[in-house]
């Protein structure tokens, strides 16, 4: 009986990991994008066990953030150097320096006790568009544009399933290592602007969005086709911008994602071997006693 349980749990853990590796590695059709409205799980390069970011996509995402979002939204937890670090957009050192130098950073006080502005350095944080929340509110019709540093993790998309399916839903999401709810949500939100239904009462200065809770959002549709120029031939559409931005936000919220998954794979292999060794050793030892 005990032997059986041991064998079963060893077998199960192997199966569990293998299932996860399979579910996690394949961009399986179950997660494929459904067109309009994009409220489902999307296919991302960074999902699953072997997930990694698409450098070009992150670079495009940064461009869109920089040209569009950063007019109202800060990303105070990021530093320019992050843009050049492994596992991110991986801009070259010179590019990072140039990006940083394009910003004026408040430093000081100097010898005269005055704060002064200087060119940004890679070690500087991203520059927020407003000095503080109140200024941000007053410039945006009293709505506060949230800081986007961890927005990729601060939002989620959860499937509502009947109670009897809930355990299977959890198991599936855990086995697939589903952590992309934030990106799914951002993508759905950015592509979710629409005309309000005729019977919907929209408040003054608000926009209708199919995904935003309550459907009324203060942010006007930020993206439009051809608004940001891509030099690599990627289509300049709202959908593509939204996709690139969502990926960029996911990276910004989880800059160690690639390191995590790479180290995780090695740890998993190690633990599997250790488990099998321990099982064999344990079985050998216990075969000599009645239990």
């Amino acid at each position: 009986m005990n032997r059986l349980v041991g064998a079963i749990s060893a077998f199960c853990s192997v199966c569990f990991v293998l299932a996860g590796l399979w579910l996690g590695s394949a961009n399986s059709p179950a997660f494929a994008a459904s067109e309009a409205p994009h409220t489902g799980m999307q296919s991302w390069t960074f999902s699953g066990v072997f997930g990694h970011f698409d450098r070009a996509q992150l670079q495009r995402g940064y461009k869109v953030y920089q040209e569009v979002c950063s007019n109202c939204h800060g990303m105070r937890l990021l530093s320019f150097r992050n843009l050049g670090e492994a596992g991110g957009p991986e801009f070259s050192e010179a590019e990072v320096k140039a990006i940083a130098a394009g910003f004026q950073v408040v430093d000081g006080p100097n010898r005269d006790g005055e704060m002064f502005e200087r060119d940004g350095k890679p070690s500087d944080r991203f520059v927020s568009p407003f000095k503080n929340d109140n200024e941000a509110r007053s410039a945006n019709n009293s709505a506060l544009p949230p800081d986007l540093s961890v927005i990729g993790k601060a939002r989620g998309l959860h499937r509502e399933v009947p109670w009897y399916l809930a355990p299977f839903n959890w198991l599936q999401e855990i086995a697939a290592g589903y952590q992309e709810g934030g990106a799914d949500y951002m993508f759905a939100l950015l592509t979710g602007y629409a005309e309000a239904p005729s019977d919907f009462k929209l408040a003054e200065g608000m926009e209708y969005n199919k995904v935003f809770p309550g459907h009324q959002i203060a942010m006007p549709p930020p993206l439009s086709d051809e608004a940001v120029e891509y030099t690599d031939g990627t289509p300049q559409t709202v959908t593509q911008y939204a996709r690139d931005l969502s990926a960029f936000f996911m990276w910004a919220a989880d800059t160690k994602l690639e390191q995590r998954k790479q180290l995780g794979f090695r740890v998993m292999i190690y633990l599997l071997i250790l488990t099998v060794l321990l099982y064999l050793a344990k079985r050998k030892l216990w075969s000599r006693v009645k239990h």
Binding site: V150, A154, E173, G177, Q179, R260, L263, M268, L285
Partner: protein, 423 residues
């Protein structure tokens, strides 16, 4: 079941040491501790829990080196740990997931105790120390959850501390005393940090008592009858250390899976929004391991009674050894209790599911039904069963049941019927 020490110092040094600090004797005693030979894998969770505690303390001390307990910096300092500190993302991930894994293991450990009657004489103190550990764990987990200072942290702190306001007359003063102000603010965060650092060491101390008590009474076992002699036991090391090690490795796979591939799955996205005292998130839910208790709290339509019910749901465990009137320990020989045990498991899982749902409509009806059964189970079913249930015959000894099983090879344990008095 304390036994005569069999340790003999092997060298002059060991002898010298033994007369001064018998620490070698102690470890020899622990490794040769007579353990029932029929323990199944559910008995490996004690070792797993010890592992969890050590992991939480080690990673916690490391995180404390980088964390800043101040309302203006707490959120950013956690992000700093995850972004800048070398391997900070790993250590923080282990600590965060570790809390959930700790509770997962402790729940299995507790249900094991409930199924096999491990709380019954002579293990009442062992069980009570376990309930104390559960309470300490809950307090520690709650205060730890406040430290990242996200929206869920803040509102969990607000809601849970407000539970004390249900106490008549002095409630408000107690809440202000807990807060150190008129709302959850910097003093609250600071003291929660200090206490979150302290409590794990108190847990460690109670764990020592828990294991001490275990070594006085000896392990319970799947058939729940007492060890009668040497033929019933095996030395703990290396048989059970290897078995525990194997189970721990399997557990570590699950643990590592969450750490590396789904670190935030068990958390809530709102906790990545910095605490905002002016805005409550639309759906506040506690961490999953508190959900059953949360469901009980919300099932009762009165503030004071809800709090009393929630607290009682744990306090009732303290008196469980005296509520159970059955003289048979293991559910293996208790056909009726076995059924009610599984009903109770479903009740707890159901409460957990409902704790995450809004308290309205059918959800509320079921939450009330489950809450009612939770207490009926302890206060009525368990006392009654001992009186009306006819237990199946128990084997005479552990060794007999082990040998009989391997000889017979059938599903029926060929046991000699024994009077309950002999158990």
């Amino acid at each position: 079941m304390s036994h005569e020490s069999t340790y003999k110092p092997n060298s002059n040094f060991e002898k010298w040491m033994d007369e001064r600090l018998p620490i070698i004797r102690m470890s020899a005693e622990i490794s040769s501790f007579p353990t029932p030979r029929n323990l199944n894998y559910l008995w490996t969770f004690g070792g797993i829990l010890t592992f969890c505690l050590v992991v939480q303390i080690v990673t916690g001390i490391i995180l404390a080196m980088h964390y800043t307990p101040h309302v203006d910096y707490a959120f950013d300092s956690v992000q700093h740990i995850k972004r800048n500190v070398n391997f900070g993302w790993l250590l923080q991930g282990i600590h965060m997931v570790g809390g959930s894994m700790f509770f997962l293991a402790v729940f299995v450990h507790m249900f094991r105790g409930l199924y096999y009657g491990s709380y019954k004489a002579p293990r009442e103190i062992l069980w009570i120390l376990g309930v104390v550990l559960l309470l300490l764990m809950m307090a520690t987990a709650f205060m730890g959850y406040v430290l990242p200072w996200g929206q869920m942290s803040f509102w969990a702190a607000t809601v849970i501390t407000n539970l004390f306001s249900a106490i008549p007359l002095i409630g408000e003063s107690i809440v202000q005393w807990l807060w150190g102000g008129f709302s959850v603010d910097n003093p609250t965060l600071n003291r929660f940090y200090a206490l979150h650092f302290l409590l794990p060491f108190m847990i460690f101390g109670v764990v020592v008592l828990h294991i001490w008590a275990l070594h006085v009474t000896g392990n319970n076992n799947p058939i729940g009858i007492d060890v009668k002699g040497k033929q019933d036991t095996l030395a703990f090391h290396p048989l059970y250390t290897l078995k525990d090690g194997f189970a721990l490795a399997v557990f570590a796979i699950l643990f590592a899976w969450f750490v590396f591939y789904a670190p935030d799955y068990l958390g809530h996205p709102d906790n990545y929004i910095q605490a905002n005292p002016l805005q409550t998130p639309p759906h506040i839910v506690p961490e999953w391991y508190f959900l059953p208790f949360y469901a009980i709290l919300r099932a009762i339509p009165s503030k004071l009674l809800g709090v009393i019910a929630m607290v009682s749901s744990i306090l009732v465990l303290f008196i469980l050894p005296w509520l159970d009137t059955s003289r048979v320990r293991s559910a293996k020989f208790r056909p009726l209790y076995r059924i009610f045990f599984w009903i109770f498991v479903v009740t707890c899982l159901g409460l957990g599911y409902l704790g995450a749902k809004p308290p309205e409509g059918n959800y509320l009806i079921f939450a009330r039904l489950f809450t009612a059964y939770y207490f009926i189970h302890f206060l009525i079913v368990i006392p009654m069963l001992g009186l009306i249930e006819r237990p199946k015959p128990t084997p005479n000894s552990i060794s007999e049941s082990v040998l009989g099983k391997s000889k017979g090879g059938g599903g029926q344990p060929d046991a000699v019927p024994a009077a309950p008095e002999n158990r």
